[in-house]
């Protein structure tokens, strides 16, 4: 892995991605926490192999949107289709029936999620973090799963850390293990919830490099981030959320140079001041 910093020197896409059929379809989704209406009629579609960056101020609902897609939160209204599932519900005689926890778990296996605070399992080693779900949940063959996990650790640049415990790794290393852990389930879509926000500046690039690499291999990705360098380098589309709504949705070239919403201009001017 090179030490080049993609936040300042975007490499650009290494090949033109072909965006396939819609794999995530969010339709008129509402979500409230008590009085707080966090998502207001949000609709968006993500095609296969597409990389969508979602940005916005804190409290704009971008993280909640991601958590709703992965069913870590239950939506109040609307529908979310992801990786071929109607997330969290089943159609029965035209009515929606909420799924049981164990049924939702089956859907979640097709989506990978990476968190701001890594959330590695601190009580087991790095390799066990990566293989726990494939071996113990998918009941995959142990040697096969171990081989794959080692390949994944190689891919995120940590081939020599398999026996370390999470606490022995730096933040950037932990986040790369978290990406490997998510990939071990062979997800059809990867969701990133501010993956670099908890990292020291010098570690951001090592995580972004892994993500750019992933996007170049055709992974469908929805990335909530403030790293505009990543958006320029890897995104097919950039979305700005404001107060629970999508207010701008454009390819990066247009998003950064000629945005339609005043919120976008304001957001960009604030972000670029840093």
């Amino acid at each position: 892995m090179t030490q080049q910093d993609p936040t300042t020197q975007p490499k650009g896409r290494t090949w033109a991605r072909t965006i396939g059929e819609p794999i995530v379809i969010i339709d008129k989704v509402h979500k409230a926490f008590g009085e707080n209406h966090v998502l207001k009629n949000v609709s968006m579609t993500v095609g296969k192999s597409e990389v969508v960056v979602v940005c916005g101020r804190s409290g704009s609902g971008k993280s909640t949107l991601l958590r709703c897609i992965d069913q870590l939160e239950t939506i109040d209204e609307g529908t979310i289709h992801a990786a071929g599932h109607l997330m969290g519900f089943r159609e029965k005689n035209g009515k929606r029936v909420a799924l049981k926890d164990s049924e939702i778990a089956l859907q979640q296996r097709d989506l990978g999620m990476v968190f701001q605070n890594f959330n590695l399992f601190p009580h087991v080693s790095v390799i066990d973090n990566v293989t726990m779900a494939p071996i113990r949940i998918l009941k995959r063959d142990k040697t096969e799963a171990l081989d794959e996990a080692r390949t994944l650790l190689q891919r995120v640049g940590l081939p020599d850390k398999e026996n370390a415990y999470p606490r022995q790794l730096s933040g950037g290393q932990q986040q790369r293990v978290a990406i490997a852990r998510a990939l071990a389930m062979k997800p059809k879509v990867m969701l990133f919830d501010e993956p670099t926000s908890a990292l020291d500046p010098e570690m951001i690039s090592e995580v972004l490099e892994v993500m750019i690499d992933l996007s170049n291999q055709g992974m469908t990705m929805i990335v909530v981030t403030h790293e505009m360098g990543f958006a320029r380098a890897a995104a097919d589309r950039v979305i700005l959320m404001h107060d629970g709504r999508i207010v701008e949705e454009a390819p990066p070239e247009k998003f950064f140079t000629n945005p339609e919403s005043e919120h976008t201009s304001l957001f960009l001017s604030k972000i670029l001041q840093h």
Binding site: S125, M132, I137, A178
Partner: protein, 244 residues
């Protein structure tokens, strides 16, 4: 009658006391294991159960924490036969001690589970674990780390609480010391020997507890846990202080 070392040493290795010590050990271990089962169930019911289950757990905890073990044991052994429930001495002792222990452990288990970071639930759900799987593979193993120290203290207490079972004629250390004392009226020597035995058992347990705690602390422990960043910082500070 003065203190007589001959009686003391005689009682120390007396077969009755050795047998009593052994009974105290297995009674404690059995009651603790059953109590742990009850405690995990009650703790989980209180945290995740529906209203009825929560109420049952709350009532159980309230009842057994709010009454003396001594009364619980006496009611189980000498009171219940009045209702046609006849339990042997051993059964009564184990059931009474386990029920009492479970009520205390329920709270220990609950606080242990609550001490696990909420992000762990998110992460285990995100890789597609069901409730049962994430409890078993992620939450409980981490809660164990918080639960082990108070659990060890509870077991320490259990070793001594078993002496109360002597009132329902359970032949453990205390009861056997009583019997010895009544034979030759060497009351001080007999009970001192019993006290020494309790000290020995508790001390051995203390040594075991340290090892168990170290085992569960290993993935988290501060020793050798210096992250590469911290190491860099430390080296920098050392370098700078050397230059100054």
């Amino acid at each position: 009658m003065n203190w007589d070392w001959n009686f003391f040493f005689g009682y120390l290795t007396n077969g009755l006391m050795l047998q009593g010590a052994w009974t105290t050990i297995w009674l404690s271990v059995t009651s603790m294991i059953l109590g742990l089962g009850l405690g995990v169930s009650a703790g989980m019911m209180k945290m995740y159960g529906n209203r009825a289950l929560r109420w049952i757990a709350e009532f159980y905890i309230w009842l057994f924490r709010g009454t003396p073990v001594l009364i619980q044991l006496i009611i189980i052994y000498t009171g219940l036969p009045q209702l046609g429930i006849r339990l042997s001495v051993v059964e009564s002792a184990i059931i009474g001690l386990a029920l009492n222990e479970g009520a205390y452990l329920a709270e220990v288990i609950r606080s242990g589970i609550m001490s696990v970071d909420k992000g762990q639930t998110d992460a285990s759900r995100a890789v597609g674990m069901t409730w049962r799987q994430r409890m078993w593979m992620v939450i409980l193993p981490q809660a164990t780390r918080t639960i082990i120290p108070p659990l060890g203290n509870q077991f320490n207490g259990m070793l001594k609480t078993t002496s109360l079972a002597s009132v329902i004629s359970m032949e453990e250390l205390m009861r056997n010391a009583q019997m010895l004392a009544q034979i030759e009226f060497r009351v001080l020597e007999a009970y001192t020997v019993a006290a020494v035995w309790y000290l020995v058992l508790v001390s051995i347990w203390g040594l075991i507890q340290v090892r168990i705690e170290a085992h569960y602390e290993k993935p988290f422990g501060p020793a050798a846990a210096v992250s590469p960043d911290a190491k860099k910082d430390i080296e920098k500070i050392l370098r700078n202080s050397g230059q100054a």
